[in-house]
Subunit: 247 residues, 2 copies
DNA sequence: GGATTTCCATGATCTGGATCAAGGCGGCCG
DNA sequence: CGGCCGCCTTGATCCAGATCATGGAAATCC
């Protein structure tokens, strides 16, 4: 297990001591970070299979800042199947889609043993009143997530969507060229609107062509250019490092 | 033409006199509305076929508040085809997806003769610093758009997507039970990831079943319950009036 | 440590919606 | 006013990816 899920691993809630560099609380001034610390409810462990962090339809009481692990947001359709709307990794905020309406639009649950900081929305709103920089970075975060969602909602082939997904994840969790996907292929398929079998076949086909290597859930991207060519149409993805073409 | 597109129809830029009730500028206090007025660049007419308001890849210089008509946001794929990411109606803000990254993620152009208020982002950021309520409502707007985008990105049948789209549009532009879609069926298809032929066939099929009546671009919804049953899985849509089931 | 369950993998078949084709109809421009 | 072009409509065919079926390999649970 790459991540220590016990609460004792990090006592207190001083955001300035937190190792998660990309967290909202670390994006503004030191003062703002201190303010973040002051409003956080106690941190929580979230386990796969355990109770959801919140459910679709609930009144929105808190957003969650992911500290470790991976959280999925999903709805349940009429047949009882999950439809995954997003994966959230350390530094991400879960629940921004429900902020506007005050109601959770999806259910949030852990994909692997995870840890989240609980940010009560009433406190968050107060913080936004006091610190314009908090509002601004929250707004930017939501805007970026919107950009990704709009890009993903387009009509692309299984290969294109998977390539875009892999590059996106690579940017976020690769260390030294390799990464370990926290979620099962079924979950990837649910998110990308693909059957599990299609995810598997497409990955294998990419491996056969030498674009990547697979072993268990570990993926190493070998031919980035090849994937890029497929994913470029989708846009947005892998934008952070300034890798995307002007197009 | 239901909407007067000449600039002379509304001189000056006093938001408090503007008839668009759902505009951002009208959502906060009177003071905040006055502040909005003060930062607006001159209003613009936008014509179909004329120059785009902005293009994907451009540096983000302004967002646009739709005053009349309909604006579409789209990207162009490798084959030169439009992929529509959203339609914006009076009261909507165009460009929120690019706010975070500072780069326009899509091209924005008029679907019908339209009018937009130009909101320079540098001024908008200053306004957000000064008026927390502006930040808050901008954040809420973006959050709602995110909710819709996430819902739309799911895997639904042609019928379900079209039903959800019709109900969504109905909520936004119906007067007395009937509405006139501003965009062509081809555009609807591009947005919903459907071929033009499928949009046409599905609409006709719904008409045959007595769920709606079609004449030209005018649509009257006859069996709301039927459409709702289809669209409910999609979620989010038609939420404003509290019509959606708890699920 | 054996049983159960979940996940990954691969082949065979099926299908919703795309694509191709072709005609009518209205709107716009010269 | 007549010609052209873009939209809507309907039918025939095709295909990417879903679904069904089956088996092996890990992980999880008594």
């Amino acid at each position: 297990m790459p991540f220590d899920t016990t609460l004792s691993a990090c006592v207190g809630t001083d955001c300035q001591l937190c190792p998660v560099r990309t967290c909202m609380a670390r994006r503004g001034s030191a003062d703002a970070a201190a303010a973040w610390s002051s409003i956080l409810a106690p941190r929580m462990a979230a386990m796969p299979g355990a109770a959801a962090l919140h459910r679709a339809g609930d009144k929105m009481k808190a957003v969650f800042s992911v500290r470790g692990g991976c959280i999925k947001a999903y709805t349940i359709d009429a047949d009882g199947n999950e439809r995954i709307r997003g994966f959230y990794l350390p530094g991400d905020l879960v629940g921004l889609d429900g902020f506007g309406g005050g109601v959770c639009l999806s259910t949030a649950a852990a994909v692997v043993p995870s840890q989240v900081c609980v940010v009560p929305v009433c406190e968050l709103r107060k913080l936004m009143q006091r610190w314009p920089s908090v509002s601004l970075s929250l707004m930017e975060q939501t805007s970026r997530e919107l950009g990704v969602a709009l890009a993903m909602s387009g009509d692309y082939s299984a290969e294109q969507r998977l390539a875009a997904f892999l590059l996106h994840m690579r940017d976020r969790l690769a260390v030294g060229g390799a990464m370990r996907l926290p979620m099962a292929q079924r979950d990837v398929g649910s998110y990308l609107r693909l059957a599990t079998e299609t995810v598997c076949r497409t990955l294998k086909s990419m491996e056969r062509r030498g674009w990547l290597s697979l072993s268990d859930k570990n993926i190493r991207i070998l031919d980035e250019a090849g994937l890029h060519e497929l994913a470029d149409v989708v846009g947005i993805f892998h934008a952070p490092a300034g890798l995307s073409k002007a197009a």
